[in-house]
Point group: C2
């Protein structure tokens, strides 16, 4: 795993909402609106968090179109295991791209 991937993964997990989302998905897959109700959060907000989790590879979304034509998006948690310690960090650190000096010389 590259350093950037590790940072993305950690950033994705370092959020109360996203932790709760993942926890709710351990009970099995659900669709977005139902999940929003269960967690008591606005759908747009939930969408943002789901996108981050999906970008980090922690959840997968599947848009299912029923026989009648109505669509429902099911979300599912992706199993994973990551062990964090100083060695893992030392191995990943050399491959991180730092924030960049925001090289905005263009006065």
């Amino acid at each position: 795993m590259t350093g950037d991937e590790l940072v993305s993964l950690l950033a994705a997990l370092a959020s109360p909402h996203r932790l709760r989302i993942l926890a709710a998905l351990t009970d099995g897959r659900t669709y977005v609106s139902e999940l929003a109700r269960r967690l008591r959060m606005n759908r747009p907000l939930l969408y943002m968090h789901l996108q981050k989790l999906e970008a980090a590879g922690l959840v997968t979304g599947e848009l299912v179109t029923a026989a009648d034509g109505s669509s429902v998006k099911y979300v599912e948690a992706v199993p994973f295991v990551v062990t964090l310690d100083l060695d893992a960090i030392a191995a990943a650190a050399p491959t991180v791209t730092l924030p960049g000096p925001a090289a905005d010389k263009g006065k």
Copy 2:
């Protein structure tokens, strides 16, 4: 470990700079200014990151006063091991305090 502690830990690690800091400290302890030079970052910035790492319990600082009276602050990485998976998250999620609706009813 509580959910909030987990979030703090992850937030502390989810940063390119802080990853590099920890990696640099695996070579052994150093003092702040030397570390700033090695990582090519401003000292105040390094200070902020060190404080976050220290708050998360990932590093310890020790202000050493030499025989001649000059002071140097040594920084050291604290060994740790954390395994992340869905079970760990499901266990921690119920104990997180969410951002709060910023209950600012006071119009």
